[in-house]
Symmetry: C2
Subunit: 133 residues, 2 copies
């Protein structure tokens, strides 16, 4: 199949596929007219890349998975290098989540403090609105 069809089937763009090729992932055969020619295996490679991208893996991190598939394995994560990437990503995610939770707590504390200060600063300001009248 040609690049447009592959892009559509994978839910991406031709630009993206050319970009992946320029990065050394997803090589393509060429037809007599110079057009790129892909097969079903390429579609699977591409799907693997896309899944990882959706997880927030950067392109370099997908390389071991692609290599693994190209080596003939039926899954991109059937190789040790891929598992290492998984583990590194887990550690990275854990660190990132912890950091964001810390920040969240600090921001929440700041907000609470500032809200209290605002209440104090406007004496009688936001007092009960639902007082019957």
């Amino acid at each position: 199949m040609r690049i447009g069809e592959l892009a559509e089937r994978a839910g991406t763009t031709t630009r993206t596929l050319r970009y992946y090729e320029s990065r050394g992932l997803l090589a393509a055969r060429r037809g007599a007219n110079g057009y790129r020619d892909y097969d079903e295996a390429d579609l699977r490679l591409l799907e693997q890349i896309r899944v990882l991208q959706d997880f927030g893996f950067d392109l370099e991190d997908t390389r071991p998975f692609v290599d693994c598939l190209r080596a003939g394995h039926d899954a991109g994560d059937a190789c040790p290098a891929s598992l290492d990437v998984y583990r590194a990503k887990l550690a990275e995610l854990d660190a990132c989540i912890a950091r964001m939770q810390d920040v969240r707590a600090e921001v929440a504390a700041q907000l609470a403090r500032a809200e209290v200060a605002a209440d104090a600063g406007i004496p009688g300001g936001p007092d009960p609105k639902c007082h019957l009248s």
Copy 2:
């Protein structure tokens, strides 16, 4: 004080200060020689910006805080617009944390599955190492 001193006192660089100025934050008076001239109030502005930056706020988000300080308030978060930024950031952090936790769970599941598959694929491979011998 001049730009180098302010940068050093705030733990940042002169480039950063000029960048903030170009973004409309942190305006500076100019001396007769064209040198920027800052005072203690500017240091406080800068500290406010840096705190928020460390929290992962982008520069635009710091603007309400800066405006608030410039308006004469003794805290950057003494104005409603700043509180709105806090609240928006909390929502953003919550969404981001939730997303990352989902991804973490999916990656962990993939890793577990792939590890099991690897064990099955190498029969008698990683069998108990700590068997007494």
